[in-house]
Amino acid sequence: MLAHGVNGKVRFTEVNHLASLRRPVRAHGTLQYIKPATLIMTQSAPRKAVYRIVGNRLFVNGVHRGVPVTRYPGVVAIVSGFEGLLSGNYALLAHDFTTHLTGDRKAWHLLLRPRLTSLKRALSSVAISGRGPRLVEIETRAPNGDTSDMHILR
């Protein structure tokens, strides 16, 4: 059911607090999920950039040669989360994360914690909330104290 939640583009805003930076990173732009394995994130701020994740390669700004997302465990987590959730591959998601679903159909809350050691090092938890078929918020926590809050707008 969730798989039908994202049709076409949605806008997002994101605030990241990173331990290594003096000020938070505030980003906004659009997100587009194309079945089965493409996620396009178009950032308008802090810099204009297009991140295209196809399969497990990350293409930045339309360059031809992508880099493996495995370089960035954080991205792997988000992508697995998105993909597992949005393509309806809940079982795939459950393979990488322990999942905990609360709330009801109208307002639900899904907490993901990584199972794999390699993911655990970069990621503590991913909390996804939604209303009905719509994704609303993704809150990500890293073990070093980094946090990310992404709001998905209509």
């Binding site: 930076l21 950032q43 990350l58 960035y72 465990p73 954080g74 970069a122 990310s148």
Partner: protein
């Protein structure tokens, strides 16, 4: 009664001795079960390195697995389960991986610790650092920002650069870090065994584990598993030979037993007929395993074939028993002829022992030991085992038929001469074209499997075994330096599409000189701190975020340089396949994948002027080695034949009789060669060994057909019975589905028939006078 008790005791002690020999063989014997094992251990460094590399190299040890059917999720699940189930078998598998991360497993720590010696960076200026920090900031502000902890520990990306060779640019496509085929319909895995891909038993064990694990992981799914790789080919080839050999042996046994039963009409002599060959084979194997550290499986096969002549010995003894005579009397009667045949052959084969090719020396020892043992068994053991048995069949009619046949054949002497000259003509006309020296000519593996292995190797980006660059040098350091000098050339070739990828030791372990240069380029803590501060101006980095980086660089400035002995097991395993010590020299291999234009590669490597670097096409080098072995065997066979002729001349005290004996045999062998060349692709090593067997068989026929006073009351039927069993036995093999067995069967059966016809035609004919009188 006393003799019977003695016979039973003797038989029992013989069985006990054979059992002891078998135990000795199993206990001390080390069998090299490979096709490459019998390749000469001599040859130039490149050839030797190649044989060693083929045998033990990584490329041969990789098993490629593909899971198909079902959906992506099922495949992924089973692929992960397979890795989980197989990884604990550390004694069998050096590596099991279904993605780049798995392949670099156990290596990350090493790469991270030594990243500043392994990564090819020497620029530490403010502007270089500033470029790094800009990129880092872009990442931090991107969706990947949350991994900042790791990024700041390594802001210059040294770990990524150090891991580059491990990520495998030419590897399979991956999805979520796990491999899949290009069309996305298969999940791919690699399993690397510790033992050579050419060793049957370990490969069979590895494949068994894989299939068992898959059966467990893929229960209740529609998934299927495809395997490929050198190990799969080895096992399939072995099974194929074993399977067809089993059926053929059964048919053989029935037919040969039929002939022998017709001759003896009783079971004990039939069973006893096996005694000489069994004794010979076991003694020969035991002696060879005791003399040599390792018995090549090829020696065992070829050697047993050579001493197959011993199957004739009991026939010669038992058929020479007169009415009411004991086997002992007959054995004494034929002892001189049997002895002469055996001594001539042993002296002949002993020329192999003095050859300089390891494989031939083994074969010579095996054949000599086996022949002596079986001849002694036929002369002394066999008669004592059956002292009471007397022949009951009346074969006088058959004796007369054999004699008549010989008379007919003697009349056709001129025809046989014409055939022999025609054969000589064919051989002269085909000239050097008569040999087929490809390894594949000997390989019994099904063609479709070879094709599948090639296709999967391309899918995996696993280096092919068809061609590679070999760099020989005096030391490890020099080999690394020289092969590293090829990297820019190889990179250029890769960009032009001449190759799709390459692998070499220098990418995993830089030379000491290079490591030193990188280490000396690292700035001191104070300098680095100052430069970082300047580089990070107007960027929002916190100063303390750089602490881990500063500490790592400070440590790297004083760490010991890396040598091969310092490397962790997976790195060393990788290096062992790429860097080898061969007879005092060090050889670095450059494995190539997707070679499209061998000529351009050859030209580029040549033009590089890197000393000791050669581009080699494996097929040509192996072909050259095979040709050498074959040429040496041929030369030794010719020397052996001349020596045999000399021994026979001395034994018979007549050069004329010796020529009568040897020339028809030579004519039979030449004619067999001509027939094989006219009907097949060319002669291989196997044919050559089979021809040697024919020489041995022909010697027996000639000695027992001709009348030269060696044997009193000669039985003309004996050689015909021997030939009948040989032709039947090997004739069945000529119908085998495996080319290797077919070749041997055809050669020996045709050769034995021709040897019988030719020697009979030229035998001295006193029978005619006897009959006329």
């Amino acid at each position: 009664m006393n003799t019977r008790a003695l016979a039973v005791g003797l038989t029992l002690s013989w069985l006990a001795v054979m059992a002891v020999l078998a135990a000795v063989i199993v206990k001390t014997g080390s069998f090299g079960g490979s096709l490459t094992a019998f390749l000469p251990s001599s040859g130039n460094t490149v050839q030797r390195a190649l044989v060693q590399g083929l045998h033990k190299g990584e490329a041969s040890r990789v098993l490629m697995l593909a899971i198909q059917g079902g959906n992506a999720r099922e495949r992924l699940k089973v692929s992960r389960a397979l890795v989980r189930l197989l990884r604990p078998h550390k004694a069998v598998f050096a590596l099991v991986a279904n993605g780049g991360h798995g392949a670099a497993r156990g290596v990350e720590g090493f790469l991270s610790r030594h990243r500043y010696l392994l990564a090819p960076r020497t620029a530490w200026t403010v502007s270089a650092l500033r470029a790094d920090l800009r990129r880092d900031l872009a990442i931090l502000e991107s969706p990947a920002g949350l991994t900042s902890g790791e990024i700041m520990a390594d802001p210059t990306g040294a770990l990524m650069a150090a891991a580059q060779p491990w990520m495998g640019a030419g590897g399979p496509r991956s999805r979520h870090g796990e491999w899949e085929s290009r069309n996305g319909r298969q999940a791919l895995l690699l399993a690397e065994t510790h033992r050579s891909g050419f060793s049957v038993t370990p490969q069979r064990q590895a494949l068994h584990l894989i299939h068992a694990a898959f059966a467990q992981a893929a229960r209740d799914t529609p998934l299927t598993l495809t395997t490929a790789g050198t190990g799969v080919v080895t096992v399939a080839a072995n099974d194929r030979v074993a399977a067809s050999a089993k059926v053929l042996t059964l048919i053989d046994l029935v037919l040969v037993a039929g002939i022998l039963f017709f001759v003896y009409r009783s079971v004990p002599p039939m069973a006893a007929s096996l005694v000489p060959l069994t004794t010979g084979a076991l003694v020969a194997t035991a002696v060879t395993t005791l003399v040599f550290a390792r018995l090549a499986i090829t020696t065992l096969g070829f050697g047993t074939m050579l001493i197959g002549v011993a199957m004739d010995y009991p026939t010669y003894v038992l058929l020479h028993m007169g009415p009411g005579e004991s086997a002992g009397t007959a054995a004494r009667r034929v002892a001189r002829a049997l002895g002469l045949a055996m001594v001539a052959m042993v002296i002949g084969f002993s020329t192999m022992i003095v050859s300089r090719l390891a494989g031939l020396v083994q074969l010579g020892v095996f054949a000599c030991a086996g022949l002596v043992a079986s001849a002694l068994a036929a002369r002394y053991l066999l008669p004592s085992m059956m002292p009471a048995w007397r022949p009951s069949a009346d074969l006088r009619a058959w004796d007369r038929r054999a004699t008549r046949m010989m008379v007919l054949l003697r009349r056709a002497r001129l025809a046989s001469l014409a055939v022999a000259f025609a054969a000589l003509g064919v051989l002269a006309y085909r000239g050097h074209d008569v040999w087929d020296d490809h390894l594949s000519a000997l390989s019994p593996a099904p063609h479709s499997l070879m094709v599948r292995t090639g296709r999967m190797a391309a899918e995996f980006g696993v280096p092919g075994l068809s061609s590679l660059v070999v760099v020989s040098a005096a030391s490890t350091e020099q080999a690394l330096a020289r092969s590293a000098a090829l990297i820019p050339i190889l990179e250029k070739l890769r960009k032009r599409g001449v190759v799709t990828g390459y692998q070499l030791a220098a990418r995993y372990l830089p030379t000491l000189a290079v490591q030193r240069r990188r280490q000396q380029a690292l700035p001191t803590n104070a300098v680095l701190q100052r430069r970082l501060h300047a580089a990070a101006a107007r960027m929002p980095f916190r100063a303390r975020a750089f602490q881990p980086f500063l500490a790592a660089v400070a440590q790297a400035r004083h760490e010991a340089l890396l040598r091969p002995s310092d490397l962790p097991a997976p790195v060393r395993a990788r290096l062992n396949g790429l860097l080898m010590r061969v007879h005092g020299r060090v050889v670095a291999f450059v494995h190539l994948s997707g070679v499209r234009e061998p000529r351009r590669l050859y030209a580029a490597i040549r033009a590089s002027h890197v000393p000791g670097a050669h581009f080699v096409v494996v097929k040509h080098v192996i072909g050259g080695l095979m040709a050498r072995y074959r040429a040496a065997l041929l030369n030794h066979s010719i020397a052996a034949a001349l020596l045999m002729a000399l021994v026979v001349a001395i034994g018979l005290r007549s050069v004329r009789e010796a020529l009568r004996l040897v020339l028809p045999m030579a004519a039979a062998i030449l004619t067999t060669c001509a027939i094989l060349i006219l009907t097949g692709p060319g002669l291989t090593l196997l044919n050559l060994v089979a021809l040697l067997l024919i020489a041995g068989l022909g010697m027996g026929y000639a000695l027992f057909l001709g009348d030269h006073g060696l044997i009193a009351h000669r039985r003309p039927l004996a050689p015909w019975i021997c030939a009948a069993t040989t032709i039947t036995g090997f004739g069945v093999m000529a119908f085998a589905p495996v080319a290797m067995l077919r070749e041997v069967g055809l050669t020996v059966s045709v050769g034995a028939l021709l040897a019988l016809i030719f020697t009979a035609a030229w035998s001295s004919g006193r029978e005619r006078r006897a009959e006329g009188a």
